[in-house]
């Protein structure tokens, strides 16, 4: 299942309705940010790694590893040496208490930060521009259209800038050696880009108005279809997510680090909530793997 480049954005889970993907990431990231209990942190950390390696492959894993290790070291060090709370003193530096609690808290906070960031990197892969545009368009049609226009303009401006640079080189204005020369040339090219784009946007505005932009009651078209399996998935995620959020509210997902570390209780409620959380987080990975296996069998 683990490939060099990962499954990318064409996974089985990505084929679900954008609402499903959005709800998944909202729950995963949201709950991660409100749970400091080591149990829940380990669950989210492990799951985020599994999913990101599945999506982004070995290349992605390398990136994650470097990022994880460096964040862990830096945050553990900073918290240990700058926070002096905690009952268990390990040693003193210049009359400053260095405590075990501060060290553990630093590690746990780093784990949380790393998990959130890895979840966001998965979000980036799955939530492509058109899905975001759809979701924003649901909130307000103008917002969706604006985003769509922005995504249209980025490559357009890039190409125009290339044409301008080439035009300038065609006039014999080579890249100047001095800093001021470079700055002057860049300013000139940018100003051409702005003038050109503003002028052409008049035509775009004409074309929008010619096609009835500004009439009352504009709708927002999309190619997505909310099917039964989407609704089923949403329901499952709502139940699992609901249990976890209840856990957050009642404090099951949290724990105390100061003045003394209070390790989470191993009772039924905690086990149940953690299990729900793990199932929720592993849903997309499971869906993707089942999808891949089915496809292999089919092919």
């Amino acid at each position: 299942m683990i490939t060099r480049d990962g499954l990318g954005e064409d996974t089985e889970f990505a084929r679900f309705h954008p609402l499903v993907s959005f709800m998944y990431f909202a729950l995963a990231i949201g709950i991660t940010m409100f749970s400091m209990s080591v149990i829940f942190l380990s669950v989210t950390f492990v799951c985020s790694w599994i999913y990101s390696v599945l999506l982004k492959g070995v290349a992605g894993a390398k990136e994650n590893l470097i990022f994880t290790v460096s964040t862990l070291v830096i945050m553990a060090l900073i918290n240990t040496f700058f926070t002096h709370n905690g009952a268990t003193v390990l040693f003193y530096i210049n009359n400053n208490r260095i405590t075990m609690e501060a060290f553990v808290y630093g590690i746990c906070a780093a784990v949380m930060l790393v998990s959130v960031i890895i979840w966001f990197s998965c979000f980036n892969v799955i939530m492509t521009a058109d899905k975001l545009i759809y979701l924003f368009g649901k909130a307000a049609p103008v917002l969706g259209l604006t985003m769509s226009m922005i995504f249209r303009f980025i490559p357009l401006l890039k190409n125009r800038f290339k044409a301008i640079s080439m035009g300038q080189r065609g006039m014999g204005r080579e890249k100047a050696a001095t800093f001021t020369g470079k700055a002057r040339q860049l300013t000139k090219e940018t100003s051409i880009l702005i003038a050109w784009s503003l002028e052409s946007s008049i035509e775009s505005a004409d074309s929008m108005e010619a096609r009835g932009y500004g009439l009352r009651g504009r709708t927002s078209f999309n190619l997505f279809k909310l099917s039964e399996r989407d609704i089923l998935m949403l329901a499952v995620m709502a139940v699992l997510g609901g249990i976890c959020i209840y856990g957050c509210v009642t404090g099951i997902t949290g724990m105390y680090y100061y003045p003394e570390i209070e390790w989470p209780k191993a009772d039924l409620a905690t086990a149940l909530t953690a299990a729900c959380y793990a199932v929720l987080l592993l849903l997309p990975a499971a869906v993707d793997i089942i999808g891949e296996i089915r496809w292999k069998r089919y092919a």
Binding site: A129, D130, I133, P141, L145, S148, M149, F151, R152, P155, L156, N159, R160, A163, I164, M166, G167, R169, G170, M171, G172, R173, K188, S191, I192, A195, W196, E199, S200, S201, E203, S204, D206, S207, M208, E209, A210, R211, G212, Y213, G214, L215, R216, G217, R218, T219, S220, F221, N222, L223
Partner: protein, 552 residues
Amino acid sequence: METIRVKNFTFKYPLAETEALRDISFDVNESEFIVLCGKSGCGKSTLLRQMKKNLIPYGHSEGEVLYMGAPVSELDDRVSAAEIGFVQQNPENQIVTDKVWHELAFGLESLGFSNKAIKRRVAEMASYFGIQSWFRKNVSELSGGQKQLLNLASIMAMQPKLLILDEPTSQLDPIAASEFLRTIHKINRDLGTTVIISEHRLEEAFTIADKAIVMDQGRIIAYDTPRKIGGFLAGDDSQEPHPMFYGMPSVLRIFASAGVREHTPLTIREGRIRLEKMLSEVPKAPHEMLMPRVTEEDKKVKKDECALFMKDVWFRYSQHGSDVLSGLDLTVRKGQWYCLLGGNGVGKSTTLKCISGVEKPQRGKVICDLKMAMLPQDPQALFTEITCEEELAEALYYEKISDEVKIEKAEAMLRLMEIEHLRKANPYDLSGGEQQRLALGKILLLEPEMLLLDEPTKGLDPFFKRTLAGILRKLTDGGVTIFMVSHDIEFCAEYADMCAMFFDGNVISVEKPHDFFAGNSFYTTTANKLVREWKPDAVTCEEVSTWLNTVI
């Protein structure tokens, strides 16, 4: 009822001295296909814009423009948006959204259709226009022709009754242009949509159109079927033909000047049939003359005569990409006007980039010691100032000469490019042809010894093409070397010193225009295609006309 009725319409832009449109009257019936032609700046766009409510320019107008009996300016916004479609010149600027499918749906979203209704309409349009294969693509991945087709489809999705197109093919290459025109024809034929289109490329538009309107200086000088227009503009034998006559399709011009005034042929096929009858006495050319000849390459160019020397040049854009230039050999003599012809995406523009030094070839030699300047395809890429005279002076910014000399030089260039009357105008307010002139002027102020041109005739009307040819010829007479990349066969045939066929990363044949086009059988001028069987070495319209007049 007439779809469009224009009655005694006169229009004047604010602050303008003369009227842009003068006393225009004409009717367009339902499902007609009307071609509007005339010089750049004769009022075509101004007239077309009067027919679409939100595009009517500011200014003083008299008379009326009626759509289905109601004044256009008083139409309901919803009716105007849905029933009158307007396609503009530039394919790029009309596209608003990032995805093809979203662009198709744009108009329907505005009209407030439900998701289901839009889906159905969009599916219909995509199938009709053959867009299925790129339906989910980003618009930035499309070619120019695809973009313009998308603009058209996106308007057709609203099912307009009247389709207005303002020089829609001027930014497209010939193949995309003729595909676009065929699509318009199909719409007119299959759906009965009324079409009013302004065009410079009349070769194809004339064969499709029911009627043509010819405009000159804000007036309509002719409104008739295309077949009759040619005869009318050619005038009697005693008088000079009307200037607009030179903008007519080759076939029409050849026959009109040979005295054929009734049922003038429009296509090469019709022309051949007519010629077979007219020239039954004239012997056909021997078969050998039609065979492609193998010419010896011009290897004897001395070093000091050589302006550009390319030897075994290989180029590709990425390590694992395919070769764009594969072993290209090319020699241009000093003071020569050299045209590189060829289809789309064969590497013509890449060759230009390698010559100008924008790209470095991976292998081979490119030697050019002359001072080079390049005119880009989009003149806007050069404009920095707010008036034309300042724009020209900007070219001399880095020159170490006094301001008086700079002004003098800019002044002289304004005169040479025939844009003195526009000195205070903003470069962006100029028409496409005028912008091209301004950009060329700017480049020429750098006093290059070698001028590189990328599709310089794109979007120009036939009249300015003649002027441009004059300007370029003056330059080569003064010792400047011109290297030009073009799709414009007719232009190259008439004016170039050397034509080269570029294909698959290499120059296939280089010859003087006469030998070049006489040796080709598909890739040649309309005039040549018409009379190949009798006189394969006649290439331009004028040659064919004079020859025809001597034989009959």
